[in-house]
Amino acid sequence: MSEILIQAEKLVAGWQQPATAPLDLCLAAGQIIGLTGPNGVGKTTLLSALAGRAKCFSGHLQRRPALRIALQNQELPPVDGLPLSGRELLALTAASSSGLPAWLHHHLDQRLDRLSGGQRHYLSLWAILQSPADMVLLDEPTNNLDAPGIAHLVIALRQRAAGGAGIILVSHDASFVSDACDTVQRLRGIDDVE
């Protein structure tokens, strides 16, 4: 049986106050879990709580000791006006460029702020996805991506999981979630529970 990386039991998360319904979740190495649900149910807040940023108000959250986490949030890195190339970005997080799609590989030596929104997003995502980590948390990873980009991402996620990483992703894209994930959990709003 694969090693458990993180386990949540009736976890209620939030920033200043509880903002999510209780969640039960168990992620093993090599597994990909998708979290879906309508706007406002607290998907991003839960992801932040799993990363240790948002507060856990009740329930139980247990991480494997010395767990290395990589977290990608929805905001694009602030690289406008910064002389930073794609290759330098990957070097920062120690991510390998091996496996990048050709439409991005050819632009690795360009400045990030000279790339298109989709190229920049995918490279920023790649820098997190391929960084040395045991658990990868991705928030709406398909934002700004076209169909070939999403198809490539599904393959990259599968390869990363096959390499032993556990992945939890939040997405509104139902077909992407069903293609990429082993398990899908649809979250309910805090009001739906009360």
Binding site: R53, I69, L71, P83, L84, L92
Partner: protein, 254 residues
């Protein structure tokens, strides 16, 4: 130009012409270029206060800037977004000008600090700047990737349970001390020009971070050397000549 009278000041400034543009790249990365002006004014006020108190001016400048640089992370959140730097700048400037106006002892040094007269630098000052540059430049290169990560992926450190404050506070202290040394050697505005203009030029032009750092240092070195020769040749105060030259270079390239 190459006698001791001018060679020592030239070499002193050369150390700073290499260090300040590199430091400026990191301040610009963090959107803190205004910090350079604030630290310079605080250092000027500290140097004048020390002089009036009968202490070495450089000690006062370094002490005041170090205090502010190290204490920056304890500033209240309402002073975020650059407000702290503006207040420090105004307080430093006002203190320095009042001391210059009311203390005869402080008048000469005050004028030198704000006019930017490099020629008072002696050999002990040069050795101090050389040692500091030899320390600060490798430290900056060592912190480079962590400062970039802290800016681009602010969650990176938190997600890995790594403390980011030693990196940021270490950088703040290094920036404050460098600006204090620069201010008491080159003057307030010359230091600011070297911190601001070369990074401003290269941020829009360079293709990579590494080449940007290299180009900023090169522009600093060339601009400083040309300004030194021009100021000496035409018997003009060094600070304004350097500032004007860098502004012109910046405008031409922009």
């Amino acid at each position: 130009m190459w006698n001791d009278l001018f060679l020592v000041p030239f070499l002193s400034g050369l150390c700073l012409a290499l260090l300040l543009p590199v430091l400026g790249c990191f301040l610009r990365l963090r959107d803190e270029w205004l910090a350079a002006l604030a630290y310079a004014h605080v250092a000027a006020a500290g140097a004048l206060l020390a002089l009036v108190a009968g202490l070495a001016p450089m000690l006062g400048g370094i002490g005041a800037a170090a205090l502010v640089g190290a204490g920056k992370r304890f500033f209240p959140k309402r002073l975020a977004g650059g407000a702290a730097f503006v207040l420090l700048l105004l307080a430093g400037w006002a203190t320095a000008v009042l001391l210059t106006a009311n203390q005869p002892l402080a008048e000469r040094l005050g004028n030198a600090l704000f006019d930017g007269q490099l020629y008072f630098s002696d050999s002990s000052n040069f050795y101090l700047l050389l040692l500091w540059s030899l320390f600060a430049l490798p430290v900056l290169f060592h912190l480079s990737s962590q400062l970039l990560l802290a800016r681009i992926y602010p969650d990176y450190f938190h997600a890995r349970h790594l403390p980011v404050w030693p990196v940021l506070s270490g950088f703040d202290l290094l920036a404050a001390l460098s600006l204090a040394l620069a201010t008491t050697t080159l003057g307030v505005m010359s230091s600011f020009a070297l911190v601001f203009v070369p990074p401003w030029i290269v941020f829009s032009r360079a293709r990579t971070w590494r080449s940007g750092i290299f180009l900023a240092a090169l522009i600093g070195l060339l601009g400083y050397s040309a300004a030194f020769a021009l100021a000496l040749g035409f018997d003009q105060p060094f600070g304004p000549v350097l500032a004007l030259l860098l502004v012109m270079v910046g405008l031409v390239i922009a």
